[in-house]
Structures are given as structure tokens and as C-alpha cells.
């Protein structure tokens, strides 16, 4: 009942200055629209750039690195224990990059409840034979099904199908950069040479484009079995085990644990790609800063219109107080006006923001390095809308707070006697 009366008076005052009220509300609408659009676009871009790397990167990679012995012989001598050791000469021994007991490790990982999936890989450094010259390259022997499931491998194969890699013996999916240099097409045969000097023919069944050009000039994909054949190794020969987790934040801790448990090198995604997270968070920070600045400017607009309204409606405020409205009631009236501007402006802003992001999301965006992206990326995260709505209410409340307080303090005697 009481609120209804206050709302009625607020609406009447709003209507009296409809144009200015609309301008103030439009300020909020504009800022919320830009806030939503900016954040959606920025988040979409962040996701795109992150996915470029993160989708193709395992959360934890287990591998074997060739390192010199950590404990040099001289350190084991009790005689020189207290002295500085100049003699450090034991070089790495001739061991393979192979992960030992890979089958047992894979079995153990498959039973780990944190692990979403694993994909074994064998990396072979090779040379592509192009006429008289050799180009350096790398062939990754992969488990096609696991790679598709965990790393959306199919998305990056621009020509041909991944299933052909599985079904055609001795086949290869060439990096698009390498393929261009070698002038090959699907169905052609190419020759490669391993670092040991063995030649091996491979049939091209597709092209691969990761979006990172340097990678595409070098990398190619074959099945695990094919690479093992190239190297002349048994079926258990695996150089990398890629692990995807359910919760990416557990990666550093689990990497440490796997390192101890399996006695292999283990690197987590956060350590390997720390620069991406930094870039994303700074871009997000900038968008928030711009959005909030816009809102604050809109807040000043509301502050102005309310101040003007109070100045103009001094008489009305005085008579309301003289006839029994308390300072609190007057305060409530002007806060209601401010919040109405904020709510209406904010709600329209959310709608326009959604509309504008949808429009941007339809604009064609073609780039050679991103084969799967056809339009500008937009992230329609409801979180942005929630924050936008919350901010619009908070800023309008703050903008209305001081003028309302001023209105509630108006002394009716001063106004009435001043006439």
C-alpha cells in the first residue's frame, strides 16, 4: 500500500520530465549494451585464441627426456664431499626416447578417476624428400580415435578424412605448409628418410592445418603402427602419453604425482602455456574496465537529472513533507525514480547487448590460420548479463543515493517561507 503510493508519486515525477528521464535511461542502455557486447566479443576471442592452443594441448604430457645423470660420480665420493666439483663429465647415455613400461602406465592412467582420456603418441623426426633436397619434419604417430575424441583432430584436417589414415596402410596426413612445398595432392606418394637413414614411402590421405603456420610446415600425422614400422620398433614403443583431465586445475598437482609414480617427465598445461592465461585475463580486465567506465558516466547522467528534478520539484517535496510524508518517504521516492531509470535502461541494455552481439556473431570472419572459424566469435555467457544487470542497479542506486538524501533533508519551512 505504502510502496504503491510512493511508486505512484515517483512515476508522476518521472512523467513530468519524460525527455530527460529517457536520455538518462538511454545512457544506461547504451553503457550496458556496450558492456555486454564488449565482454561477449572479448570472451569469444579469448576462447578462440585459447582453444587454438589448449584444444590441441594435453593437460598433462608424459615423456622421456634425454638428460645427463643427475648424480655425477664425483658426488658419490666421500673424500670430496665438502669440496667444489669441477669434474662433471658423464654425458647422457645412448637411450631411447621411449617411455618404458608404457602399457602399464596407460593401464594405470585409464583407472585414474581424474582422467578423462589418454592418447599415446610416437614422435619421429624425419626428412621429407622433395626432389634433390630434404626438408626437416616430424611425423606424429597417433591413435586416431583417441586423438579425435580428445583433441578434435578432425577439425584441423582440411582435406580428407581421419578414418582414411586408420584404414589405409602406410598413410600420412601432411601439414598443409609441407604439402605446398612438396606440390603433392591427396592420393600421391611421398618419400621420407628417418634420422637413421632409412627410406620409407607414405601415401597422402589428407592435409592438416592447425592455424599455426610454423607447425604446419613441419608436422604430419600417421598412425602409431605406421610410425613404429618406420622406426622398426615393437608395438609398445611410445614416446608421449597425452592425458586429458576432467578438471584442468588439477593438472599441476597430478603432473607432479605422475612424475614420481611412473618415473617419467610430466609437464602440465599451466606450466607449458602460462602466457595464454595471462593474455586472457588482461583482455578480460580491459573489457571490464571500459564497461564500468561507461556505466559510471551513465551514473553521472542519472545524478544530474535527479538533482535537476529535485531543484524543480522543491515545492512538491515541501508540500509532501508538510502533509505528512517523512524524509524517508521522500528518499524512497527519488531512489525509486533512480532505480526505475536503472532497471528500464539496464533491461533494454541487456536486450540490445544480446542483439548487437548476435549481429557481430554473424559478421563473416575468414582467416587462413583458423579453418574452423567462419564468423566473429561471441561468447554468450549468462554471467555477463548477470553482471551487467547487477552493475546497472548498483550504479543507478549510487547515482540516486546523494540526490535522494538531499531531497529528504529539504526543510519545508525554508521553501514555503521563501515564497
Amino acid at each position: 500500500m505504502k510502496f504503491k503510493l510512493i511508486a505512484k508519486i515517483s512515476v508522476a515525477l518521472l512523467k513530468a520530465r519524460l525527455k530527460q528521464t529517457m536520455v538518462a535511461a538511454f545512457g544506461v542502455t547504451f553503457s550496458i549494451t556496450m558492456f555486454i557486447t564488449l565482454l561477449s566479443f572479448m570472451a569469444g576471442l579469448n576462447d578462440l585464441l585459447d582453444n587454438l592452443i589448449l584444444n590441441r594441448t594435453p593437460h598433462i604430457r608424459l615423456y622421456n627426456e634425454i638428460l645427463p645423470s643427475e648424480i655425477q660420480p664425483i658426488a658419490q665420493s666421500a673424500e670430496y664431499a665438502r669440496d667444489y666439483h669441477f669434474v662433471r663429465h658423464i654425458k647422457p647415455k645412448n637411450e631411447l626416447l621411449e617411455i618404458r613400461k608404457s602399457e602399464a602406465i596407460i593401464m594405470a592412467l585409464k583407472n585414474d578417476p581424474n582422467v578423462r582420456g589418454i592418447a599415446a603418441k610416437t614422435t619421429v623426426p624425419i626428412f621429407y624428400n622433395v626432389g634433390a633436397i630434404n626438408l626437416t619434419g616430424v611425423i606424429n604417430g597417433i591413435d586416431v580415435d583417441a586423438e579425435n575424441k580428445l583433441f578434435t583432430f578432425q577439425d584441423y584436417v582440411v582435406n580428407g578424412k581421419t578414418i582414411d589414415l586408420k584404414n589405409t596402410p602406410n598413410s600420412v596426413i601432411l601439414g598443409i605448409g609441407a604439402a605446398k612445398k612438396m606440390l603433392v595432392q591427396i592420393g600421391d606418394n611421398i618419400q621420407i628418410t628417418t634420422s637413421e637413414g632409412n627410406r620409407f614411402p607414405l601415401k597422402v590421405v589428407g592435409f592438416f592445418q592447425s592455424g599455426i603456420e610454423e607447425l604446419d610446415k613441419v608436422q604430419s600425422y600417421a598412425t602409431l603402427a605406421t610410425t613404429q614400422k618406420i622406426l622398426g620398433k615393437p608395438a609398445a614403443y611410445v614416446t608421449d602419453i597425452q592425458v586429458k583431465l576432467y578438471d584442468i586445475t588439477l593438472a599441476p598437482a597430478l603432473a607432479k604425482m605422475y612424475n614420481k609414480r611412473f618415473d617419467v617427465e610430466a609437464i602440465d598445461i599451466q606450466t607449458a602455456n602460462s602466457q595464454f592465461e595471462t593474455g586472457s585475463s588482461i583482455r578480460t580486465l580491459i573489457s571490464y574496465a571500459v564497461g564500468i567506465t561507461l556505466l559510471i558516466v551513465a551514473g553521472f547522467g542519472i545524478y544530474n537529472i535527479l538533482n535537476m528534478m529535485i531543484y524543480e520539484k522543491m515545492d512538491s517535496i515541501a508540500i509532501l513533507k508538510a502533509t505528512g510524508f517523512s524524509g524517508k518517504d521522500v528518499n524512497a521516492i527519488f531512489l525509486t525514480i533512480a532505480l526505475t531509470i536503472g532497471l528500464v535502461g539496464g533491461f533494454l541494455g541487456l536486450l540490445f547487448g544480446l542483439g548487437l552481439s548476435a549481429v557481430i556473431g554473424e559478421i563473416p570472419f575468414n582467416t587462413a590460420s583458423l579453418p574452423t572459424v567462419k564468423t566473429y566469435p561471441i561468447n554468450y555467457n549468462p554471467k555477463f548479463y548477470l553482471i551487467g544487470a547487477l552493475f546497472s542497479i548498483v550504479t543507478t542506486y549510487l547515482a540516486g543515493y546523494f540526490p535522494s538524501k538531499k531531497a529528504s533533508k529539504i526543510d519545508p519551512v525554508d521553501i514555503i517561507r521563501g515564497k
Binding site: 508519486i9 508522476a12 512538491s316 508540500i319 508538510a322 502533509t323 505528512g324 514555503i416
Partner: protein
Amino acid sequence: MNKKVIEAIGISKSFHDPITVKVLSDVSFSINAGEFVSIVGKSGCGKSTLLYILSTMDTSYEGELLLDGVSMKNKKDAELALVRNEKIGFVFQFHYLLNEFNNLQNVMLPGLKFGKLTAKEVEHHAYEKLKILGIEKEALKLPNQLSGGQKQRVAIARALINEPLIIMGDEPTGNLDKKNGDIVFNIFKELAEEFQQSLLIVTHDLDFAANTHRTITMEDGKIWSHGLPTDEITKAKQ
């Protein structure tokens, strides 16, 4: 015999800006229920200041103010607003109607704020008050469509809406011509005599004052006499 609706006991007030000036000193009087009292005096004698203190809008004074036997000292802003809403009807020199609302709504506003009746009942009461004042036909018009006299009558209806203990007026006929001034005066008289409404009106119109039940004459912040200013006083003032 009669109940005192308002009682002022030793009310004093000073303005301190820029120098201390005593505008009211030791003013004491009371008004009984159903009395029609006027306060007269020259400009600056403190009569309006006294009225605003009696209306609870001005709270910086010394002395004691009893409304319906209850002290108004040490009451909070919101409590005083309630008292004004319930017990005091105020008519100013200027009508102070809200142009955003029609006349009926203007009359209803204090009633809706009071909140003891439903909106329908308040509307019915407002119509009745407008009828008493003979302007029920203008109920749905906006205030700026009325003449000055009509506006003042709407303002009186607004003062009456919560059936207040007392109606206070600060020069209610000051802005009106003779004809409209007489209409408003007759309304006050009718309210006092037919409805036993207590009234306290500040005026400098001696004809107006002469026709009220009782007149209080003020001079230099003091009550000069409880009666019409005599020739002597008038002379002394000149």
C-alpha cells in the same frame, strides 16, 4: 470545559544567522476544540514562525508544545511527519498542489499516506470534502486548469482529508482577490460552526480576523493581546 487541542507553553526562538535575533519570546496560549482563532500582527512580528513551530515543521525552539495533550519535544522526524499527517491540516498562501496529479488525487495523497482506509474509501472521502467546498465538478481536472480561488479550495480539501485535529493557515487568503478571499473565509467559518473544526489562521487582514471567534495579536515576538488590536495598539505600532 473544552478539550485543548493545542497548547504552547513558553515558546521562544532565535535565528542565529548572521547575528542572534530573538523572533519569539515566551509565547504561551492554547486553542480549544472547535475554536476559530486568528493571529494578526505586522510582517516580521514572528506570527508565521510561531505557526510553523505549532505545525511541528520547525523543531528548533525552546519551550513546550502539546498537541492533543502530547508533547512534541524529542520526537523524531518520522514521528512528527505522522503527527502532521494525522492531526494537522495545513493551508498555505500558495496552493502547493502537485501539477502531475489531478485535483482529486491531490486531495487523496495525505489520505493514502495515512493508510488507515483503502484507496476506494479515501477517494470517497476526498469527493465528500470537495463537495463541501463546492468544487466536486473540478475533481478530475488538473490543478493548473483551475482559478486561484478554486485551487485554494482544493488545498483546503486536502487539509481536511484526514479529519485533522486542527487546520492551520498561513495567510490563506493572501494571494486571493476580495471575492475569492471571502469565499475561503466563509468556508473556514462554515467548517468551524457546522463541523466544529478547530482552526488557527495567521493573517494580516484585520477584517478577516475580526470575524473569527478569537484573535491573538502579536508584536515583536510576543503576544500583545488576546483580542483584536485596539486603536491604541494600532497607533502604538504606527
